[in-house]
Symmetry: C2
Subunit: 499 residues, 2 copies
């Protein structure tokens, strides 16, 4: 190993330590911190994040990257470090092009938009949020102009969340999915809805926590390399492959959602826990592709977790751990967890309608960035699309265009990754079954860890060092397509709803 | 406020942020971190602690302190900042006198001694630990020689844990206590011991956690300014007055110890939560005097918590929260929590014999530092003193001289503070009763928060800005004496054991 690379690694290790502490401050702030502790935590977080940002954009960092990118040094790197240096150089150059003043104004605008969004949602009044949304659109365009001046804005945004996945691919697969899904959904909605009244009761919370632990272990989450916490909204957070944490939210009126949150976050966490150790604390050591990440959480949650065979080997155990399920049969449970309804809120949607919630957002983002549709027209556009795809109109904008926070912080291009993950899942399912046989059988035999092992080997171990298109090509041997997930939806729901 | 002071405060705030993150890393390491996350946490902790130490011993810091100590600047400071600057200058000068090489060797020796101590304890073999103990004694002498060359070594050690409390005072009050306590203990041990068999059962853990929460709130711990965690050994940790955390250890075979751990750590925490906010994040913002700190935890745990009137207003509630206590009467509970036994292990001792466990250690420390008794003779000395005071001889050194870790990291002079806190408690009890009347009445009427408020006002708010001797003088109007706590022990146990 070259002396230069050694020095670079030492420099990165110090930056990692600052980031490590910031990550922990964030985790603790969400899971444990007492109310009045906020200032101490946020001061420390601001200080450490700033120090960490300074180091990652420092002249010293630039010099390291320049030197390591020179052919003599670069050619001597192994393939991991080639990826790491190239990726860091790209990020460094992009960040360096953003004027400090502009960056500061962007953060201020983001914070103000966040406050306005909360206020607008509470008051069900889009006009409060509208000027801030305009500003965030404008700032986002400028930000992409600085960072990626050679790219069309929306392409640049899509690429920033799912590198290398261009908008032509997005358009193709989303349209493919929409065309196949709309007729299926119409048939489902015309069928008899499932009566959920048996599930309305008061559930014990310690039992739910025990179920969470059981399910996480069952699917392959390692408690030697992770732990759980409680937060308002479930999420996954990783320090490195050795410390990956998932949170959950427990309620007395619903014990099923937390199970699927656990399996969903467990899927994210299993990805991170199984990135090759040698990539720890580098830009390749965590999966930075949101679509690919979501494909793993949704694979566990939906493709595996909403399959009746997932529950067959463990349903009696579930009833033992949580006696609130003693009077619910596995068939009732299965029907409940696959109940399809045209509802208003994305985060509460079933796996079928969820796709259309995302498509609504994707199409609106295109209208914003490609057709310059004014902000004032967006609520009506939202409602029109909801009516068209889901045959339902939000009574107010709070249940419509104001429901998600993503646009308030300028995360345009983020939503589509949620659906891309689902589309990947159809393809991964085919690939898994090609190697392991029918997942119905694998699951029914309680061999879910065989699937986890397969995903570890084919996807997880690479972290970010393989880009999504490369992963799809390597794992599925072809271009991304929505046909496999459409086939999955059609077969599954035709059976469930006797279509 | 002077420009210089402003700059100094800004410098301190940055150091505080580093310390804040280190504190959180330590808390998380003990409460949540998964096993394999250790390296990431300890790397970050080492880095941040080093950065923080560098700043606190930096040339810049020295210049700030020199300038602020010059009469023109110093005289303009308010009394808080006079204390802060003076104390920091003292610490800075002491630390600066320690050669960096020596400090490094000390840390290495400390770590090695810690490993050897664990090994020796597990193997019940003092000879494994003996050479390391010798080394730690030698290093400690040298360390004090650098830091406090003008003081006798053991005096310097005592002073470092309880500033201003000299060994003449220690000797006087410890002898006073020993002379009064030995005859009382002999009478107790001759009386009929309490039959504890009714308490041997399997206790529910979620119920114990609910009891912990109830007790902490009852005594005045604020959950807006604190939270709880689980660790192997209970402790209290504070970031600042707004975020003070207590941990506990729950077991199925004993639900009473965790109650008293909660009350004990709650006492420490109530102290820290009530230091005046203006002192936050300064050297005065937390109580650095271990005896004074322990006086508060033991006041809650023993003087209040082991008084039957503490339980009278809440015992029915306790039985409701934890039904495992339904068949135990309050009188049985009271007898159990005040059962005196001559046992081997300090941390499991009752409040009476605990004093003698500490005196054994204090007297041995004096032999080490004042009479240069060789390490090889210490186990026999330990056993002789245990026999003399407690009429019991450890079967092996694991239950004798090897039981505590304190000497392995060179914390000589720490043990005596545990007992000093108890001695202060007798005096504080008198002072509380002078103002509020009999604590039996105050407790029986469920007005424990009046006592907490009294302690907040008279002791807690000052943090470290009043030294222990000043606190005792201000609160009790006289020198520290063991007579009040002796009176408390004698009256209480004469009644309980019908002596």
């Amino acid at each position: 190993m070259s002396e230069l690379l050694d020095k670079f690694k030492a420099y990165l290790a110090e930056t990692t330590n600052l980031g490590h502490a910031s990550t922990l401050l964030y985790w603790d702030l969400e899971t444990s911190m007492p109310k009045e502790g906020f200032k101490g935590h946020s001061d420390a977080l601001a200080y450490l994040s700033t120090e960490s940002f300074k180091r990652s954009t420092s002249t010293e960092m630039g010099e390291f990257l320049d030197k390591l990118s020179a052919p003599a040094e670069f050619d001597a790197l192994d393939s991991d470090w080639k990826y790491i240096v190239k990726q860091m150089k790209k990020n460094y150059d992009e960040n360096k092009r953003v004027p400090a003043d502009f960056y500061h104004d962007f953060i201020v605008a983001q914070n103000e938009a966040g406050v306005a969004w909360q206020d607008a949602k509470a008051k069900k009044d889009f006009s409060i949020f509208a000027p801030h949304l305009e500003k965030m659109i404008d700032f986002t365009k400028k930000m992409m102009g600085y960072m990626r001046p050679h790219m069309e804005v929306y392409d640049a945004l899509l690429d920033s969340y799912e590198e290398g996945m261009d908008s032509a691919t997005y358009d193709r697969v989303f349209n493919e999915l929409k065309e196949g899904l709309l007729p299926l959904l119409n048939k489902i909605l015309a069928a008899k809805p499932y009566d959920e009244s048996k599930f309305k009761k008061e559930y014990d919370i310690p039992a739910q926590k025990a179920v969470e632990k059981f399910l996480l272990e069952y699917i392959g989450f390692s408690f030697d390399k992770g732990c759980t916490g409680e937060t308002e909204h479930p999420f996954t957070l990783n320090f490195n492959s050795k410390d990956v944490r998932v949170s959950n939210h427990f309620r007395t009126d619903n014990a099923v959602d937390p199970m699927f949150s656990a399996i969903h976050e467990g899927g994210h966490a299993i990805f991170e826990q199984n990135v090759a150790e040698r990539l720890d604390d580098t830009v390749a050591g965590s999966c930075n592709y949101l679509g690919l990440h979501e494909s793993q959480s949704r694979f566990y949650e939906n493709v595996l977790g909403r399959n009746i065979n997932f529950w067959k080997p463990i349903y009696a155990k579930l009833q033992e751990i949580d006696p609130d399920f003693k009077d619910i049969t596995i068939d009732e449970f299965y029907r409940y967890i696959n109940s399809v309804k045209n509802s208003l809120i994305r985060t509460q949607a079933d796996e079928v309608t969820y796709c259309l919630h995302v498509i609504v957002r994707y199409e609106i983002e295109q209208e914003i960035f490609r057709n310059n549709v004014p902000v004032s027209e967006l609520p009506a556009l939202w409602n029109k699309k909801m009516e068209e795809y889901l045959h339902i109109t939000p009574p107010t904008d709070a249940e419509g265009i104001l429901q998600d926070m993503h646009w308030s912080d300028g995360s345009f291009g983020y939503f589509p990754t949620y659906l891309l993950g689902t589309i990947y899942d159809g393809m991964f399912l085919e690939a898994v079954e090609k190697d392991l046989g029918s997942i119905d059988t694998v699951l029914a035999e309680g061999r879910i860890k065989d699937i986890t092992k397969w995903l570890n080997e084919h996807i997880h171990q690479y972290g970010s060092s393989r880009k999504p298109k490369e992963v799809i090509q390597a794992v599925c041997g072809r271009e991304v397509s929505a046909q496999p997930i459409l086939k999955y939806f059609t077969e599954k729901y035709t059976k469930i709803y006797n279509l």
